[in-house]
């Protein structure tokens, strides 16, 4: 691991706010570290003392089940002390401001803040104002770096490399943080990315991120090595982005029938939670092509790696 005299940090940033701008060698370092962590998860005693004495607060301002569980587990596996804070909603109107909440928690002497928030930029907001290390666990439609890292870890396990790998991401691109982190990470590592979805859920000038854009799921299936299928928020229909979930499934749903037409067998990822029968057919989710549960396992390993690289006391790495 890259370090000088045990002092310089393993990563160039103190925080993990997103994958935008994270260089390839650091992504590789995180993924390599995650592989080592995964080995710990296979031991009979799944715990190491790496973060003993390090206090982590999981600051979840938005509902989350798997990301929160995954971070908690990662923290426990590393022997960190952890506290949880959950609060849906936020804002001045409801009393204490975000900054006051964060300062109060920090005053309790925590070392790492893992934050999930419905608004983009909140992790940076906290990083700019607190002395703790900040890890972004998803901020609005901005980034979700640990999700992208676990997706990439899963892809690397399957394909062994990123160079020239073709990944199609299907669904609501506009409102997805997972997409943006995946794009930054995959493009940095030399993969090709195609975004697939209806024009109403494709954000403005997204081509500027060096991705291909398609509105044809069959084209994407024919092109891709792997398909990352996004959850379609059911409220998109009500807010007028889609006429119906039925038509969405007809037009963009990933089905065995569609996959059967592909020249090769595709690997299917999904960040969860799935809407079976909407963006993905059950038969696909449960098929041999699906690596969805590997993703979940890798999620714990990736989060252990990130926490360790950012917050392990000097000399441990």
């Amino acid at each position: 691991m890259s370090q000088d005299n045990g002092k310089s940090p393993a990563l160039s940033s103190r925080h993990l706010l997103g994958l935008e701008g994270v260089p390839a060698d650091e992504i590789t370092l995180i993924l390599d570290t995650a592989e080592a962590m995964k080995e710990i998860l296979d031991r009979p005693i799944k715990k190491v003392p790496t973060l003993r004495g390090v206090t982590v607060v999981n600051l979840f301002f938005e509902d989350s089940t798997r990301t929160k569980l995954s971070f908690e587990l990662a923290e426990k596996r590393l022997s960190a002390d952890l506290i949880n804070f959950s609060k849906s909603g936020s804002s001045v109107a409801k009393g204490e401001t975000l900054l006051d909440t964060a300062r109060n928690i920090e005053a309790m002497k925590v070392d790492v803040v893992v934050v999930r928030h419905q608004h983009p930029g909140v992790p940076k907001f906290l990083a700019d104002r607190l002395t703790s290390v900040v890890v972004n666990a998803g901020d609005g439609s901005h980034e979700h770096p640990t999700q992208a890292l676990l997706d990439m870890m899963t892809l690397r396990q399957t394909f062994g490399h990123f160079k020239g790998l073709r990944v199609a991401i299907v669904g609501d691109i506009t409102h997805s943080r997972v997409v943006k982190s995946n794009i930054h990470g995959l493009i940095t590592m030399g993969a090709e990315v195609m975004l697939v979805g209806p024009p109403t859920l494709m954000p403005r000038d997204v081509e500027s991120l060096n991705v291909k854009v398609s509105h044809d799921i069959d084209e994407a299936i024919a092109w891709a090595d792997a398909l990352n299928v996004l959850r379609l928020q059911l409220e998109r229909q009500k807010s007028g982005f889609l006429p119906s979930l039925r038509e969405y499934h007809m037009t963009f749903g990933v089905t065995l029938e569609r996959l059967a037409k592909a020249p090769k067998e595709l690997v299917i990822l999904h960040p969860g939670p799935m809407n079976r029968g909407v963006e993905i057919e059950s038969a696909v989710a449960d098929s041999g092509a699906s690596v969805i549960l590997e993703q979940v396992t890798n999620g714990v390993a990736v989060r252990m790696a990130v926490l360790m690289l950012l917050s392990a006391p000097e000399g441990i790495l």
Partner: protein
Amino acid sequence: MKPIQLPDKLLLKNVRLVDAEQNIDQPGSLLIESGVITALNTDADDATVWDLDGAVVCPGFVDMHVHLREPGFEDAETIKSGQKAAAAGGFTAVACMPNTNPALDHAGIVRWIIEEAESFPITVYPIAAITKNRAGLELTEMVELHRAGALAFSDDGGCVENTELMRRALEYSKLTGAPIIDHAEDFKLTGAGSMHESAVSTRLGLPGIPRLSEDIMTVRDVMLAEYTGGKLHLAHVSTKGALEALEDALKRGLPVTGEVSPHHLLLTDKAVESFDTSTKMKPPLREEEDRLALIEGMKRGAFAAIATDHAPHPYETKEVPFDEAAFGIIGLETALGLIWDRFVRTKVISAADMVRLFSNGPRQVLGLPEVSLTAGTPVELTVFHPDEKWVVNAKEFYTKSRNTPFNGWELIGRPWGILKGSMWAGRVTPSFK
């Protein structure tokens, strides 16, 4: 800041006189007696002398688009603090927008604002609401409001969405001769948007406000102005599309004018990448192509005025996540320095162009008499030093709020203050000899 009484007979010596109307930009002196300009380039032995060390003296600046927040939001700004900020920024007058609480939709409130402002030498011209409580449902009593002192009508911050009502507003306002100032925004297209919709908003995951939101309303309202003959003034033009609509209207001789804000001339959506909430305003910071189009438009004379859209907000409404932050930035104390340093010193526009855009340009839109540097004109003058270097530091500002994206900018050219009647108000204390 305490206003200072001027000596009865005061010679402003060693000044640079700039006056667009007379097409002058030259060194000289100015004699003022009891609140009136009495002579140019003269030596009066019996006058008190103020040596201004090469400072510019020009017709007084009017910021025709400010939010003074009083009544209702006094933690952000008051009429008095806004007046002080105006004086410090070199403005002799401001026109204040009606999105107060209560809204400026009654003659009584208009009169109250004018009276409240009288104790300080900065004139405050109220802009009354177009619709009652700015709710977009019924017209205000425009004739009475105009008699009470309102110089224009606007639902600024909001837009009259009902096209039929906007038509009536443009028709009915003809009784007053005062313009309708248009905050052109289609709120349905804006949706939950918090920044300009572009590659940057896509990357940041912030909901976008498309150009269309401004363009469609601008085009609609220009068409309404053409059909009705009502006077329309386009506030804070920020897109190339809205600029095109404005210039097309000007070319066709329609009763349409427009203003541009310093921040739209100087910043783009790239500034939002920091998630700094002081880059959040409406209309939002657009793209480089819009910014360059606005600068070209300014050079061609498309705009009648530069106006700051000075929108103070307290710390609590800006020190929050970007999506939750209030829209608006302060501008009174940075406008002159920014335009001088970035556009006049770089010869994009002339000193006289700038003076016109800040003084008689907005006066014309508001139906106010022009001010010139000629004998017999009542004193209403802006004083700034064209060579003074400074670093923008919002902590030193007279406004009550600190929401500016220009903090830390190094500028050359700094406002000193204003002369109004027989009073001086400003950052600088005059040294009379």
